[in-house]
């Protein structure tokens, strides 16, 4: 690992404090980043990482404190100013216009002449140089999460930043792609670019970062050199205690088939969507089945077919608890015992402007919350309070609006809401995306407990580590087809990684390559 060269810090921040009405988000934070340094900012949900980055990027103004950019004290009133200084940021929640193409989105952020053809060439050049393949002509709404992230990164790189901020960048990538991203980041660092890397993945930080600053409850609780620490010691700094270990139950006591997909073929109407081809899958009571794959290979389409949000032509292709449900809408499938955690939390899994109590009603109303068409708000509120308590949702109570919660806390709330309905079949998409270590290990343990009690659980995730931790069986989705299933104990990250490129034994050889990150 190389050490940064120059002696003037690229960025030094002193005593940053930001107070919100309900919470002190940042409380006297100091941090120094040298040129060419990859600096990790580590912390749980609500520790203040995102607030701090937004201060640096000029999205919010701090109440107190000083920013020193290359030796000069500066105020950064807005992101445009930050970009002018040479700061680029890739947000966890992407800031792209869905109705525009990739190149149009990039053009909006780049000052200067509006020449889409030349810009397309530059995008292709940068994407090749740093190993971030994306077609500049595609529309953003049709891109997967992983691809959108690439667009964000490319958009930053085109402005030749001297400080690049990345918020949880690897959550949507294959292991191979993570390695490639790390190469990109190391290449950038060796060119003198400083990198602020926000993450909760301790092994990644250990592999990539030169130094780390740990935040907890808005304060710096420690700095370290990751290469000299173990994940355990860093986790302790981050959450203040040791991580709980998982308790796996016995495998092999699976019961009847709760979810069966038979020869599901679903052509897509979206020109950039994925056509599902001949999907067969069974999930039994008491097992967790994982679907691995790089985003954009048919996960969204498959989930919509299972949840009922996309009506199917053929009633027979999906069975739940022995009943053919292809024609049923999501409400009727839920009545049979299905619960579902979608990838998008705000706007799909929860209504932003409604309170948590009202958001409980969204799917859990069958749990005795209705009486003659009227809502029993007392029952819903107790359910919400129970969920907040059991799943440690940090919020201002059951009357808080869903949008006031941080991403990870909202996810805990949604997962809790679905789990507490005692589902017969539980389908989850990216259950721990952007959720911190403590919370994601709690969610995973809850899924394992649910499996013990006989629920059939299907997890679609782009985090292989997670799938290997909790699943009994794994399948891989690539270009709309499903691989054979393999017991988790009989395969490994390398094999699944290769399958994610569509190359499993007997895979369809013809056709286009899958979207490989």
């Amino acid at each position: 690992m190389q050490t940064p060269s120059s002696n003037t810090p690229r960025l030094a921040i002193r005593g940053i404090r930001k107070v919100y009405p309900a919470i002190v988000a940042n409380d006297g934070i100091d941090l120094t980043v040298m040129p060419g340094e990859i600096h990790a900012v580590l912390g749980e949900n609500g520790a203040g990482k995102s607030t701090l980055m937004k201060v640096i990027y000029g999205v919010i103004r701090p109440d107190e404190g000083e920013l020193i950019w290359e030796g000069q004290s500066v105020t950064i009133p807005n992101p445009a100013q930050a970009r002018e200084l040479g700061i680029g940021m890739v947000f966890q929640h992407f800031s792209l216009f869905e109705t525009l193409s990739v190149v149009q989105n990039v053009a909006l952020a780049i000052p200067g002449e509006f020449d889409l053809a030349a810009l397309s060439l530059r995008i292709e050049e940068v994407s090749q140089r740093y190993g971030l393949p994306v077609d500049p002509r595609r529309m953003v709404h049709a891109l997967s999460v992983g691809e959108r992230q690439r667009v964000e990164i490319i958009r930053c790189l085109l402005q030749n930043p001297r400080l690049l901020i990345l918020d949880e960048p690897t959550s949507v990538l294959t292991p191979q792609a993570v390695r490639k991203l790390f190469e990109t980041l190391r290449q950038l660092a060796s060119e003198g670019v400083s990198i602020l890397y926000i993450s909760h993945k301790l092994d990644e930080i250990q592999e990539l970062c030169h130094t780390a600053t740990v935040l907890r409850n808005g304060k710096v609780t420690g700095s370290c050199t990751p290469s000299q620490e173990s994940p355990k010691t860093m986790a302790r700094m981050m959450i203040g205690e040791d991580l709980p270990a998982y308790s796996h139950g016995e495998t092999g006591h699976e019961g009847e088939v709760r979810l069966r997909i038979v020869n599901l073929c679903q052509p897509t109407e979206d020109p950039f969507g994925t056509t599902l081809k001949n999907i067969n899958l069974e999930v039994r009571s008491g097992e967790i089945v994982g679907i691995a794959g790089v985003s954009g290979n048919g996960q969204q389409e498959l989930l919509k077919a299972i949840s009922g949000e996309e009506p199917l032509a053929d009633n027979r292709v999906i069975e739940m608890c022995g009943i053919q449900v292809g024609h049923l809408n999501p409400g009727k499938r839920r009545a049979l015992g299905m619960c579902f955690v979608p990838e998008e939390r705000l706007g799909r899994g929860a209504v932003p402007r409604l309170t948590l109590t009202e958001n409980i009603l969204l799917t859990a109303y069958r749990k005795g919350m209705l009486l003659g068409g009227l809502i029993r708000f007392g029952v819903a509120k107790r359910f919400a309070e129970d969920c907040i308590k059991r799943f440690d949702v940090r919020c201002g109570g059951a009357n808080s609006e869903a949008k006031s919660l941080s991403g990870g806390n909202l996810q805990k709330f949604i997962v809790g809401r679905e789990i507490m309905q005692d589902p017969k079949v539980l389908v989850l998409a990216q259950p721990t995306w952007g959720v911190d270590v403590g919370a994601s290990s709690f969610i995973r343990q809850s899924l394992l407990d649910l499996r013990e009690s006989g629920t059939a659980v299907l997890v679609i995730s782009e985090e292989l580590e997670e799938l290997f931790e909790i699943c009994d069986r794994l399948v891989v989705i690539a270009k709309g087809t499903l691989s054979p299933s393999k017991a988790t104990t009989e395969t490994g990250v390398e094999e699944i990684g290769i399958w994610m490129s569509g190359m499993w034994p007997d895979a369809e050889k013809s056709g286009e390559a899958p979207h490989v990150a």
Binding site: R333, F340, L361, L362, T363, G373, L374, I375
Partner: protein, 355 residues
């Protein structure tokens, strides 16, 4: 120094209540200016427009009489507006309700049955619903924009009324005036207070506000419509039917507008003419938004709107201003409301220009 609008971290609850009050204040202020520009004394104008109508108990009864159809239409429309179902054709639904209900009264003109009035009310509601069902069907079946179709059907309804009162339904003893026979006493709504015109429709309207409040705040269907209005994808995820929201939103508006229509015919108007409604169906949209789509707010905003109608009449009589003056006030109210509503999501900030 210059003014900049800065997005609030979250919409201001306080501002959403202050905004209608601010809009009313600005409307008053501009009204006074308008009187000055028209060469009238603003003090005199204010008195004639806003105080004269309320100076005796008859005036106050008239206020409630005029507020009744506004309350009915506005509460029905709010059900749809909350779910992003934009029925702007309440005026047409009101007219068809008046026709169907009035038709029953004319057809059974010699009956003295006690169920005649209830039957007329039900028929009025069904008439309004049938008219609202057309845009609902076009929206759910062909995805046709209900704003356009419901508005266009207003003009169709006006022409239907006009044809009937000039033709088949014209009173043979009416000296060729375009109007039907007067309704029989059995087909007329009972007066609540002797000496005034305020009738039982006011009770219907207050009942509708109550039912509307329960539907919107306590019922699961109302909840589903709120979800559909705020986050379409969440509604689909939960399995709520978007089509059902459209149907309920349109039909609620149609039913209430239809009752408002027949209540005018069997109340103050007493027969079907071409002038059953002075634009109540359109004004009700302003009432609904000034009342924040909330039945309690609608109660007060419909009284305000009724005052604008009465003030307009007074201004014609005593200030020699044209009758369109009340439309001008309605327009100003809506204009200022939309303007003030910006402050719900944004706050003004004066900043010094940086060199």
């Amino acid at each position: 120094m210059w003014l900049k609008f800065e997005q609030r971290p979250e919409p201001s609850k306080t501002m959403s209540y202050v905004s209608p009050i601010l809009a009313v204040a600005l409307m008053f202020l501009s009204g006074l200016l308008l009187f000055v520009v028209l060469g009238k004394s603003p003090v005199e104008g204010f008195k004639v427009f806003f105080l004269n109508p309320l100076k005796d108990s008859y005036g106050i009864a008239e206020l409630f009489l005029k507020a009744t159809p506004l309350m009915l239409c506005a509460v029905g429309l709010s059900v749809g507006f909350k779910a992003n179902v934009w029925n702007i054709g309440a005026e047409g639904q009101l007219l068809i309700g008046a026709l169907v209900g009035g038709g029953i009264a004319l057809h059974f003109e010699h009956t003295s049955s006690a169920i005649l009035l209830p039957a007329m009310m039900v028929a009025g509601a069904l008439g309004g619903m049938a008219w609202a069902a057309i845009p609902a069907f076009l929206r759910t079946r062909f995805n046709a924009n209900e704003i356009l179709t419901s508005l266009m059907l207003v003009y169709v309804a006006e022409l239907v009324v006009s044809w009937l009162v000039h033709g088949p339904w014209m009173d043979p003893d009416g000296f060729n005036f375009p109007q039907t026979k007067l309704l029989s006493p059995e087909a007329t709504l009972p007066i609540l207070l002797t000496g005034t015109r305020v009738n039982a429709a006011l009770l219907l309207a207050i009942g509708a506000l109550l039912v509307g409040w329960i539907f919107m705040n306590k019922s699961f269907m109302g909840y589903q419509m709120k979800v559909a209005g705020q986050a379409e994808h969440a509604g689909r995820y939960a399995g709520f039917s978007a089509k059902r929201s459209v149907w309920i939103g349109m039909l609620a508006g149609g039913a209430m507008a239809g009752i408002a229509g027949i209540a005018e015919v069997s109340g103050p108007v007493g027969q079907i003419t071409e002038h059953i409604s002075p634009g109540y169906g359109f004004a009700a949209m302003i009432v609904a938004f000034v009342g924040r789509l909330n039945p309690i707010g609608i109660f007060f905003s419909s009284l305000l709107m009724a005052l604008l109608y009465m003030g307009g009449e007074q201004a014609q009589q005593y200030l020699a201003l044209p009758s369109s003056i009340s439309k001008v006030f309605q327009g100003m109210l809506l204009f200022f409301l939309l303007g003030s509503d910006v402050f719900i999501n944004f706050r003004p900030r004066f900043i010094r220009r940086r060199k």
